[in-house]
């Protein structure tokens, strides 16, 4: 019998007007939540507030009522209005002191980048004397760890890679050391080609009522849906067994749409099949404008299966580089089955690859016609012997049309490769 331990709740407080005026998207909170989740700490709430003393004090007070861990990011940069640190000092009844280690780190950074050390930067070395300093190897603003009445407070800089470094290097190890944490196991699978609600109907009979220590999350993105099972327990072996059993049942129910039985991206799935078979691919992109190549090359090691892409935005480039016939474009248009098929054979030849994917469409907001409205896209995949082409309609905005085209194209390519390789 698995019994879930008492949950440790966390809250993430993000400080900074830039999040409230909307010009910065908060990626830090998602990162922090993921890392806390991995070690069994549940994020109960996230709050974003401005650089205002009263707001900060109110938030610290409110969040500490039902959370045992509070992570604060932002408000520490050299142009911040110097509000966060004095406010923390007030909250913890501490006084500001210069930390010699931090001061040395700031000076070292300025020497390394050969930049003048200013008064403004020296202020970065001041911390409330109630904190334990968490050294920041990637920047000038230090992390700060406080404890008060059974609650842990951690203040981190808002610069994403500095925050992430501190979370990994200091915060997670220290939390594990200080807290009695439950075992939390996640298991994720990736589906394509089916909407969230149809997927829910397909698995509902078996996954309608789960015990409290098991959670099933639907995570839709870019025309694909991730399913994530989470089991929480105080017994690692039992939790493993339980999650294995549930996950096996789940994969059985969604088999026909399943791209991977782990939390990876579709481009990584394609990359690993090709690498195993020592095969290579390339893309010929008109309407996706290099986005497919960007997705593929965002993963480390892409060079072991990807040779490149011809982003042939102009028709001239389709002709000159890929050898698409001028007549084909004149007679059928750039967005046509005939053109997309010639793009495939052209890119296979010029890139010297085994497999290729090609896109040509009208992404909007302009360029549509009555016969070919915005959202009309031809996608083709193929090898030296065979090309499969399909027309799609994506009726969203430009950004989303590009994303959906790229992901649909990658799924078509995956299915084509699986069949061709007999996997």
């Amino acid at each position: 019998m698995i019994t879930a331990m008492k949950e440790i709740n966390a809250s993430i407080i993000t400080i900074g007007d830039e999040l409230l005026i909307g010009q910065t998207i908060d990626t830090n909170s998602a990162f922090i939540a993921t890392e806390l989740n991995k070690i069994g700490i549940w994020v109960k709430r996230r709050v974003a507030i401005g650089d205002v003393k009263e707001e900060i004090l109110d938030a610290l007070q409110a969040e500490s009522k039902d959370c045992q861990v509070i992570i604060i990011t932002g408000g520490l940069g050299p142009t911040a209005d110097d509000i966060t640190k004095p406010t923390l000092a007030e909250y913890f009844k501490a006084k500001m002191i210069v930390d010699e280690g931090v001061l040395q780190n700031v000076k070292d950074i300025f020497t390394r980048f050969n930049r003048p050390f200013t008064e403004r930067n020296a202020k970065q070395a001041e911390v409330p004397d109630a904190c334990t300093v968490l050294p920041n190897k990637r920047g000038t603003a230090p992390g700060m760890w406080f404890e008060k009445e059974g609650v842990i407070y951690v203040s981190l800089p808002g610069v994403p890679h500095e925050m992430a470094g501190l979370i990994e290097d200091s915060v997670i190890p220290k939390l594990k050391e200080k807290l009695q944490l439950a075992v939390v196991i996640h298991r994720t699978l990736l589906t394509a080609g089916i909407g969230e609600s149809f997927l829910a109907d397909a698995i509902a009979p078996d996954f309608k009522t789960l015990p409290a220590h098991i959670k099933l999350a639907y995570l839709p993105a870019f025309g694909m849906v991730r399913l994530r099972l989470t089991v929480r327990s105080d017994n690692a072996a039992e939790a493993e067994q339980e999650v294995d059993r549930q996950f096996e049942q789940l994969t059985g129910l969604v088999k026909q749409w399943m791209v991977a039985d782990k939390d990876i991206k579709i481009e990584e799935v394609i990359g690993s099949i090709l690498k195993e078979k020592s095969k290579f691919m390339a893309s010929a992109e008109s309407c996706t404008g290099g986005y497919i190549a960007h997705l593929i090359t965002s993963a480390p090691g892409a060079s072991s299966s990807f040779k490149g892409s011809v982003v042939c935005y102009a028709n001239e480039a389709k002709e000159n580089i890929l050898g698409v016939q001028h007549d084909t474009i004149v007679t059928h248009g750039a967005v046509s089955e005939e053109t997309i098929r010639e793009m495939i054979s052209g890119v296979i030849s010029v890139m010297n690859v085994d497999y290729a994917v090609a896109t040509s469409g009208i992404m909007g907001p302009n360029g549509g016609t009555p016969e070919k409205p915005v959202g009309t896209v031809w996608i083709a995949v193929g090898d030296k012997d065979k090309t499969v082409a399909k027309k799609h309609f994506f009726r969203y905005d430009r950004k989303r049309n590009i994303e959906l085209t790229a992901h649909t194209a990658l799924n078509m390519l995956r299915l084509f490769i699986l069949e061709a390789e007999g996997v």
Copy 2:
């Protein structure tokens, strides 16, 4: 004399476990904050909570204390645990009814996509009878508008393009109609090639203490910094005058780093210069893997100045398509001044363009050597007569190295074009 009107404060409540487990990044809040800001509503706080009745009730209660507008997103999808709507009904002391207009919309959508209409989807037509329905043209879940004790509450679906459509079509017009709003004017400029703290030092003497109705925000992203001036007033003409005066002073102080005196992207700046001069560009991308092309083609109308990109990830592609000499790569390596210069002349010729940008580097985490560590990047820009090449070091993770390389390359290209065209 400008006097700032009483501020109208808003809070954004985001509902959904997916934000708390960290697998979804909250882009909705930034969009909503931007749109509210434009009409003079200040977002005081943003709160993310789970699909839990008590949490939702607590948040509605807490946020209504000092905010006059509360925007709620998420918790309405077909797989949500049916918590948000009944909780709203409870909060507003309402009962659930079927809205015929919403039901018809849901049925129409299912007919259009030729999909079976399920019980689960019929539930989307139920709303608390205390609300005014905001029709959703882009999906099945309706928006809902409530008023209670002088506070406006708006509940919207979490799917980004549905939420955005409802904000633009219904929420903003209705808020303007219902509220006496102050005039808010923003003026933004974009800088490149200078860090946030140095920029702050450069403009501090003149912009240290601004009156309360004027704000200056620093918005750093990808090695560039945006500066945004905001003036709030109840007199449109006076506010215009004030913001003009302040903005002119600001642009004077940062002139040497200024890319644009409005809120546009650097790739759009390049696009508009080229379009005006009827010139074309292309890129040859090794380490950026198509990201430069993706940035450029994300803007509508890119085809009027961009012909395409050769993403030559494999050396073979550098040779076969761009005509880089095999000997050059063998002798100097792919990441070298010699190779990058040949990439420029190759892509100018094969794409038949006036200007080109090229990148070749080691983005990490693997592939570094003692002579060429991870983060070593050669960037070149040029035209038919001249090529400028420069070596850079970016010492971050793969994603950030790609972003910094792309933006640095675009700024080099912009400066090259400005000089060549004598602008």
